[in-house]
């Protein structure tokens, strides 16, 4: 038990130190600035405590999370499927790489005006941007894993009598699962950033991105900082708690003690 705690601590302390440094710089800067320009850490945390129960904030949060839980899993599914197909077919892989190269050279947020004209304000343009921004890390990660699949693992299954479908389910999927998860983690960062950015540039008149932009327009510095903190906290929670938990559950075999 003691040992586990010290191991957890070893992993956590650099992260804690990074957060501490940022807060320290903020607090020192705040010390030399007038409070309306840059409120200190305690002031913002106090505002945060009160703010998270306000209905305005809760609606905003709900709207953003809704777009995330629709857009992000769709992107993962689409990316995973495309990646798997590309891993199996060389021709499709070349095609997919070109498509991704083109899409990557256009910042995803650029699609917002185009999508608003096409679909109107609301969830559709934002969710579409989330998908454009986050399907490709997934696709690339899964494609590379599928291409690099262990040939002997496939041959063992063939000798054991596997059909094509069984090869896919029993060898390709489990063997590429770690890269699905890596892809999903990278994709999450993209999804979150493009969600907030889309809301800020006017994809919709609700959501965390919209709220922070609004607070900025009325020069509410405390609210702006509160939203920055919240946006960071939510991302960290998804990445380090939910996705990490999922990873440990699905890749149990990777975390079992090594060879004796």
């Amino acid at each position: 038990m003691q040992k586990m705690n010290s191991q957890t601590w070893k992993k956590v302390w650099p992260y804690a130190a990074a957060i501490g440094t940022l807060l320290l710089i903020w607090q020192i800067t705040a010390f030399f600035s007038p409070p309306y320009l840059l409120p200190g850490v305690p002031a913002v945390l106090e505002r945060l405590g009160a703010g998270i129960t306000e209905p305005e904030f809760l609606t905003s949060l709900k709207e953003s999370l809704f777009r995330l839980v629709v857009g992000y899993p769709s992107a993962c599914l689409l990316g995973g499927l495309l990646g798997l197909l590309a891993g199996l077919s060389r021709g499709f892989a070349v095609y997919l790489r070109s498509l991704i190269a083109i899409l990557q050279s256009i910042p995803p947020i650029t699609w917002i005006p185009f999508l608003i004209i096409l679909f109107g304000f609301g969830n559709v343009p934002i969710i579409t941007v989330i998908i454009i921004a986050s399907f490709f890390p997934m696709a690339l990660s899964v494609m590379n894993a599928t291409e690099g699949i262990n040939r002997t693992h496939l041959e063992v299954a063939k000798v054991l009598g596997a059909t094509k479908g069984q090869l896919l389910r029993k060898v390709y999927l489990p063997e590429t699962l770690p890269s699905f998860i890596t892809g999903a983690q990278v994709a999450f960062g993209n999804a979150w950033r493009s969600l907030i950015a889309s809301e800020m540039v006017g994809g919709a008149s609700s959501g965390l991105g919209f709220s922070i932009k609004f607070a900025g327009e009325v020069a509410q510095m405390t609210d702006v900082l509160m939203y920055i903190v919240i946006i960071g906290l939510i991302a960290a929670f998804f990445d380090h708690v939910i996705l990490e938990w999922l990873k440990r559950r699905m890749l149990k075999w990777r975390y079992i003690g090594g060879a004796k």
Partner: protein, 247 residues
């Protein structure tokens, strides 16, 4: 008349411009233990993969019981050089893979897996992951994975090549126990001449570039054999000369 289970006739095989096998013919009678020895790169694995149905000859025929082998079959199990266990499956799940693919019920799978795990001395390791086992234990699991299918033919591609000398000797004895009285046809590839002499009824000696069969040696010595017996010593020298390892 003796039924001839494996028959390779006038087989040629190239990969691009690389000629790997040239005019190889050999026969292995049903229930016999055969071994192929030869230098690295002489096409031993390629030949074995043809018998497994994973590769096709350019010319010539590869047959089992008079039927051309053109795809893998659970009747012929191959044990690979690297143990090739699935790291994401437990020992039990690895062993049951073939049965699961064949749609056999969970209960029967489990019973059969437990039984073969006992045969290879891994009772109680059902829930372990391969990463928790030693090299020798992993190779035992991969033998169990093949045995559970109750194949007629076992094809072994340098199964003990990566193991230390002592484990190797133990595993050879275990393999003999599995084979004796089972009626299975064994084809073992090895670069260990002593291993072939200790185990096989018939040894095929191959030479490299392109791979050719240079001699077929029949040994009808009783088992267990004396690894240092006189006849074995003479045959060892003969094989070493054929392979150019000794004048």
């Amino acid at each position: 008349m003796i039924m001839q289970t494996l028959e390779i006739q006038k087989v040629h095989k190239s990969f691009g411009s690389l000629k790997v096998l040239e005019d190889v013919s050999l026969t292995i009678e049903k229930g016999k233990f055969a071994a192929i020895v030869g230098p690295s790169g002489c096409g031993k694995s390629t030949l074995l993969r043809m018998v497994a149905g994973l590769e096709r000859p350019d010319e010539g025929t590869v047959q089992a019981d008079g039927k051309t082998i053109d795809h893998p079959s659970p009747r012929r199990m191959m044990i690979f050089q690297e143990h090739a266990l699935y790291p994401w499956l437990t020992v039990g799940e690895n062993v049951e893979m073939g049965l699961e693919l064949a749609g056999i019920s969970k209960e029967e799978r489990r019973n059969r897996a437990q039984k073969v795990l006992k045969t290879v001395g891994l009772e109680g390791f059902y829930h372990y992951y391969p990463s928790q086992l030693s090299g020798g234990m992993r190779q035992r699991v991969s033998i169990a994975r093949a045995l559970v299918m109750d194949p007629d033919v076992l094809l072994l591609d340098e199964p003990y090549g990566a193991l230390d000398a002592m484990t190797r000797l133990t595993m050879q004895n275990e393999l003999l126990k599995i084979w004796e009285g089972s009626g299975k046809t064994m084809l073992l590839i090895t670069h260990d001449i002593d291993e072939a002499l200790y185990l096989a009824d018939r040894i095929f000696v191959m030479s490299a570039r392109p791979g050719k069969l240079v001699r077929t040696i029949d040994l009808d010595l009783p088992r267990p054999r004396n690894r240092h017996g006189q006849r074995i010593g003479e045959l060892r020298q003969e094989i070493m000369q054929l392979l150019g390892l000794e004048e």
